[in-house]
Structures are given as C-alpha cells and as structure tokens.
Subunit: 218 residues, 2 copies
C-alpha cells in the first residue's frame, strides 16, 4: 500500500468531509494546500495556537474561503488524522503477520510505531488533544486502536496456544491493551523530547518489557 504523503491529493477514497463538493474538481488542490499548510504549521506550534487565518494564508486563500473546504480547524486535524490512521495500523499489523520470530516481530512493531511518532508526532499529539472534545474523531480513533489491540491480542493467544507463552490471567486482550498504551505514551513522550536516551535504546526497553510481559510468568 502506497504510503500517501501529506499534501498529496487522496483520490483513493471519497473525501472525509462529506460536505459540499462531489466530483474530482480543480479546487482539490486548495484542499490539499490547506492540509499541507496545517501539516507545516503543526510542526512549529501546537494546534490550539494555529488560527484559521494562518491556515488560509498558508494555502493562499482568504479566511472565508477556508470555510468552503472545511467547517472548522478541528476538521482539518480530523482529515489529517484519518489519513494517518492507515499508516499507523500498518506499522503494527505488517510485522504481526510477517511470520518472523517473536522477538523480531516485537522489535519491528515497536520500532515502526516510534518511527511514526518521530515523523507524525505533532499531528498525533494534536489528535490526542482533539479527541477529548470531538466525539466523532474519538470514536473513529477508538475503532482504529481497538483493531490494533485485537490483532496484537490474537498474536499473543496464538503464542499461548503453541505453549510458548503462559496462559492468563491477564487475558491476552488486557495485555495487548496495556502494551499498546505503553507504546503510545512512550512515543508521545519521545516526540516531546521527554524520554531518557533516544531512539534505539527506547526500542530495546520497550521490546524487553513486551517480551517479559508476554512470555514471562512472574
């Protein structure tokens, strides 16, 4: 699956904002320009301090015109978020179905996720903040993470069935949920530069914790 870049027009799926426009038209460029501007601005300041004016100016249109494309600033974040969700899912699901040895799978999952946080950090953080206010986005994102957790739990259950991992409690789902949230927060903190020792050391730590949590029987 092509990893759709930010700013590139997404013609694979109907637009997330089912609002006014229908067919593939010219002003799609402007919509993309707004998203691109949001992406750019997000890298330098938190979402709450980006005004519609800046977004519009960044896309080369007037503030009023902005509202033709998006109903609100939050909707822009929502659109970016939906666009990133696939990428994030794949970061976890691909290694899980690779058939490689457990230790490598875990390492890949963790590495991939932290990698996404490195590049999409500002967006993911904004989304986290937005999800508290926006019920739609919260539901959407909840379903994404639920899928990821379910897949992870299935992998744990498979290991348990093979006898390589001890049976619960905790249930595989609970374990998967906890680990996924561990990765999430770790990535979040890393993207803020709040982690002790960068990159590979963090991957290693998370991988060890995961291996012990799944295969240990403390």
């Amino acid at each position: 699956m092509p990893a759709l870049e930010i700013g590139q027009v997404d013609d694979r799926t109907p637009p997330a904002t089912v609002r006014r426009r229908r067919g593939p038209r010219k002003g799609d460029l402007k919509e993309a320009a707004i998203l691109e501007a949001a992406w750019r601005l997000l890298a330098e300041k938190p979402i709450t301090s980006i005004s519609i004016d800046e977004l519009a100016a960044g896309a080369g249109i007037s503030r009023s015109s902005f509202y033709f494309y998006f109903p609100s600033r939050d909707a822009v974040i929502g659109a970016l978020a939906r666009r990133t969700s696939e990428d994030l899912s794949m970061a976890v699901l691909a290694p899980l179905s690779s058939g490689r040895p457990p230790r490598e799978v875990v390492q890949s999952v963790v590495r991939n996720l932290l990698d996404r946080w490195q590049t999409h950090g500002p967006l993911l953080r904004s989304m986290d903040a937005l999800a508290e206010r926006d019920a739609d986005l919260r539901a959407f994102w909840h379903s994404i993470t639920t899928d990821i957790v379910a897949a992870y739990a299935a992998a744990i259950d498979a290991e348990r069935a093979r006898g390589t991992a001890p049976a619960g409690p905790p249930q595989a789902l609970d374990l998967a949920w906890a680990l996924t949230n561990l990765y999430w927060r770790a990535g979040h903190q890393m993207s803020l530069g709040q982690d002790p020792g960068g990159g590979e050391r963090l991957v290693e730590t998370l991988a060890v914790v995961t291996m012990r949590a799944v295969y240990g029987d403390g």
Copy 2:
C-alpha cells in the same frame, strides 16, 4: 501529609501566582472559590470549553475581577496541578518506602495511581493538554515525574542488588520510565472510560506486567 482538599485554602506555601497580593487576606476565599469552580466545571467539560466568565460566575465575582486573582485560565489549571502533584507523588513514594513485599508494593503503587486518575482525571487530562503550551508547567511537571521515576528506579536497583531481579539492560531508569508511562496512559484512558474491563482487573494487569518487566529475564 494532609491531603489538601480542593477548595480549601492553602496557607502552607506562598501563592503560586506571585502577582499582586501578599499577606494572608480576605479575598483568599475568592481565589479558593475560583479554584473550586474550576474543579467543579472540569468534571463536566474539557478545559478548552470553560470560559473565564463561567469561572468568575462560579466564584460569584465579575469577569474582570477574575483577572485580579489569575492572569489567565491556564494559570488556574496550573494552580490546581501544583496542588495535586504532591498527592500524586505520595501515591507512588509511600508504597515504595513501606518495606512490604514487592508484589504488594507494586499493587499499591498501581492501585493508588489509578485511584488518583479516577478522582482527578479531568484535571490531569487538562494538565496534560496544557503542558504542551505552557513551558513553566511542563518543566514543573517534568521535575515531578522525574522524581517519581528516579524513586522507582532506585527500588528496582535495590532488588537487583539483592539478586532477586536480573541486571540490565535495560537500565533500571529506563524500565522505571516505561512503567511509569504505562501507568500514566492507562490511568488516562481509564478516566475516559476507554479501558477494557474496569478497576481491579486493570490493577491486576498492570501489576503483572510490572512484575514480569522487573523480575523476568525473557
């Protein structure tokens, strides 16, 4: 340590807002009333949708008067956060120095933390959001969590010295950091009702993960 309740006047330390007032004066009641109003409102809606007007009205003063006490809405959250930080530190530090067996210590730490998230959830979530914008609050909170992590790491190192836990890598500090962030995110999600299966089951899951992470040698 007396667990200072919200709305109670804090005369133990100089006011966080070193702005205008000095001695212990009458209007302290109003300041407390604002904090109490913030606390109350926070329980029903996210910080971003609470207006200064509501805060002032909740405290029985005019909007302009609000600015006599706090320079901004964020400062109110900051004040509440500082007030809660001790409580949160103690939730972790007390069990660690209790001398009880490891498994019980871990369970207490986790239980205490989740308990705080249950009662202070809306505030802690607001703080998380605020910390991204406010450098002061971020630094303050970072020092709090750093202390907690350090204490946790010291406990792990003690176990390692006793030979009951395997030596690193990962370093005890990295392990403590990861576990603390796991608890944080778990509490965060729980306070949003986004966790699978409530209370005690979550405590159990986190306790198991912790025990395996510290004592396992996967």
